[in-house]
């Protein structure tokens, strides 16, 4: 074997090993983050953490019941606003999106997908908080919905496009009008995929903090009124994590673990929903 040949084989082997190590490093980062969350947060998860509200600074104990309920309300409301618009836009792109408007909407969706969430936050502030004169959970939900729509639209479009043409043609040949074909046959076939996109979208916004800073604001007390400021887990983590007290840090880790668990459950559910339907499609 010539020296040159040997050198080339060594380079090839080294680079193969290097990219494998790099992949390992990336996975290691995930393990380290999740590991610390469990290590530092799990011990604080007890009954009172889930059912009690925060106590005044300096006292120990207390929980984040208000933040958990707030997260569910704000994210749920955002989904209520964002999902219909997102799914409708996605259906439009898949069914009628070949023209100029389709191209524009698709491009705008992709561009908005990368918009800094903080910018969406101040946008929601000018639209809802400023005219109403006070912060509100509703404004937070609207900001989150704005973040959600482009994402849902694009995944819905892709999932609907995966439906074979023969299905659509069969329905049309049987005399179904297009709208019924689209809703009853095409969208229904793609339902699992659309659902996956929705779950992923909800998971993504559930952890958002920046757009809530000037809209939902946060609230030390238990509140379920969507016209008043409301606490979320993400806001709670920010306040407690950057605060000066050890007790706050402890609660921040626990809240982060709960939030991460919530996001992971949604993400895994999305995976599962897709797998059961499309199997080897991806």
């Amino acid at each position: 074997m010539s020296v040159r040949r040997l050198r080339r084989r060594i380079v090839s082997g080294t680079m193969t090993a290097l990219v494998a190590v790099l992949s390992f490093v990336a996975v290691l980062a995930l393990v380290l983050i999740l590991g610390y969350l469990v290590a530092k947060g799990a011990s604080s998860l007890d009954w009172s953490f889930f059912v009690r509200n925060p106590v005044p600074a300096g006292q120990s104990g207390g929980g984040v019941a208000n933040a958990i309920v707030g997260t569910v309300i704000i994210v749920g409301l955002a989904a209520l606003i964002g999902l219909p618009i997102g799914i409708g836009t996605g259906l439009y792109l898949a069914e009628y999106g070949s023209g100029r408007l389709g191209w524009t909407v698709r491009f705008v969706a992709d561009v908005l997908n990368g918009t800094p969430s903080i910018v969406v936050g101040i946008f929601a502030w000018t639209w809802l908080v400023k005219p109403m004169g006070h912060f509100s959970a509703l404004a937070g939900s609207v900001a989150l919905a704005v973040l959600m729509v482009p994402m849902i639209a694009r995944t819905t479009e892709e999932m609907v496009r995966l439906v074979p043409h023969s299905l659509r043609e069969a329905a049309l040949a049987l005399g179904y009008p297009r709208w019924r074909t689209s809703l009853r046959v095409v969208a229904r076939t793609a339902l699992a995929g659309i659902l996956t996109g929705c779950l992923v979208g909800v998971a993504r916004i559930a952890g958002e903090t920046a757009p809530l800073l000037f809209t939902a604001l946060g609230n030390l007390n238990f509140s379920t009124s969507i016209l008043q400021p409301m606490q979320t887990l993400s806001l709670q983590i920010f306040t407690y994590g950057t605060g000066p007290f050890d007790e706050w840090h402890r609660l921040a880790w626990a809240a982060a673990l709960v939030l991460m668990g919530l996001v992971l459950v949604l993400a895994l559910a999305a995976r599962w929903a897709l797998r059961s339907r499309y199997g080897a499609a991806r």
């Binding site: 990219v19 409708g88 992709d110 918009t115 800094p116 729509v149 709208w179 800073l213 920010f238």
Partner: protein
């Protein structure tokens, strides 16, 4: 149908009109979907105009020098955004410097070398990094990353490269370095996921041709596969840049939030997103608020430009697919 019987008799509806979608249900359906689809472009217009209107007082007052002056004095009412623009760009490029080799390595490994059974799980785990909320990254950064940097990274860096201006000054923790590292971890999944899709879109014949001519496996990847997907890979990197530029919470918690321009990565800095997050609710005067809106507008325009560029480059390789928006 509400058409009059007389008209009907005059012009019987041909069957093909049904197929072209001319009945009432179809027109309603299409109309409703079009209205929903129009929300996105309208939203974009509303966003831009709202930002521009609110930023207008500051734009008129300070003009273009807003971008390159560095005095930020709310009391005196003088605002210049240079330090945050600098900090935003510096932290993002530091993040790219660390994230690009890592993410490309992951993408190449997953698309070319990894055994079949490992591909799905590993790519899922890497993409899970994108699911971690920004504020959780920030918390982890404060209590895990900064102590780690202080003990294991900064001393050896100082020992070898301490003479350069990039490592001068005392390291307190919150710094450009901490912000850049956390950003790097955060954008790896995006760059890796899109790069992987781009590499998978490269035709197998490219690899076969190179291998057939006697190339080693790595040579085939590096000389035949990567150059073929070059535009798409650049797009992936630029997409990551777009994410890094607009990232808010983790950076706000780690970068130190100081209005200063310095070369040292060990010193605190500021970013546009962090400035808005920190100061928006404290902005007491209209001019102050307006200046923050102008910062938001600049940030928005930059990220839109960067994202549009990235999309166009990715579309050239993987036509019309929504790569990246699915990353999770």
């Amino acid at each position: 149908m509400t058409t009059l019987p007389m008209e009907r008799a005059a012009a019987p509806e041909p069957r093909w009109q049904v197929l072209r979608g001319a009945n009432v249900g179809d027109r309603l359906y299409r109309g409703a979907l079009t209205v929903l689809a129009l929300t996105l472009p309208l939203l974009l217009v509303a966003l831009v105009s709202e930002l521009a209107i609110n930023a207008w007082p500051a734009i008129r007052r300070f003009g273009l020098p807003f971008v390159w002056t560095s005095v930020w004095d709310p009391v005196a009412g003088v605002f210049g955004a240079a330090p945050m623009i600098f900090g935003t760009i510096a932290s993002s490029f530091l993040a790219l410097l660390l994230a690009v080799p890592l993410a490309l390595g992951v993408a190449i490994y997953l698309s070319e070398f990894a055994p079949k059974w490992l591909r799905q799980p590993v790519s899922f785990l890497v993409e899970l990094l994108a699911a971690i909320p920004s504020v959780v990254y920030g918390l982890w950064g404060i209590f895990v990353l900064i102590p780690f940097l202080r003990t294991y990274v900064v001393p050896p860096l100082r020992a070898t490269l301490g003479w350069t201006p990039f490592l001068s000054g005392v390291f307190y923790g919150n710094s450009l370095l901490a912000g850049g590292v956390i950003l790097a971890i955060m954008i790896v999944p995006y760059i890796a996921a899109v790069s992987r899709e781009v590499l998978l879109a490269v035709p197998v014949s490219q690899r076969e041709a190179a291998l057939g001519m006697g190339a080693t496996r790595w040579e085939a990847v590096w000389t035949a596969v990567v150059p073929y997907g070059q535009a798409g890979l650049m797009g992936a990197v630029i997409l990551g840049l777009g994410r890094a530029l607009g990232e808010t919470m983790a950076v706000t918690m780690l970068i130190g939030n100081r209005h200063d321009i310095g070369l040292s990565v060990l010193q605190p800095a500021y970013t546009m997103a962090a400035a808005i997050a920190n100061e928006f609710s404290e902005a007491t005067t209209n001019l102050y608020l307006s200046a923050l809106f102008e910062v938001g507008l600049i940030l928005f325009v930059i990220t839109v430009a960067v994202n549009a560029l990235a999309r166009l480059m990715i579309w050239r390789v993987a036509r019309g697919t929504a790569v990246g928006s699915r990353a999770l």
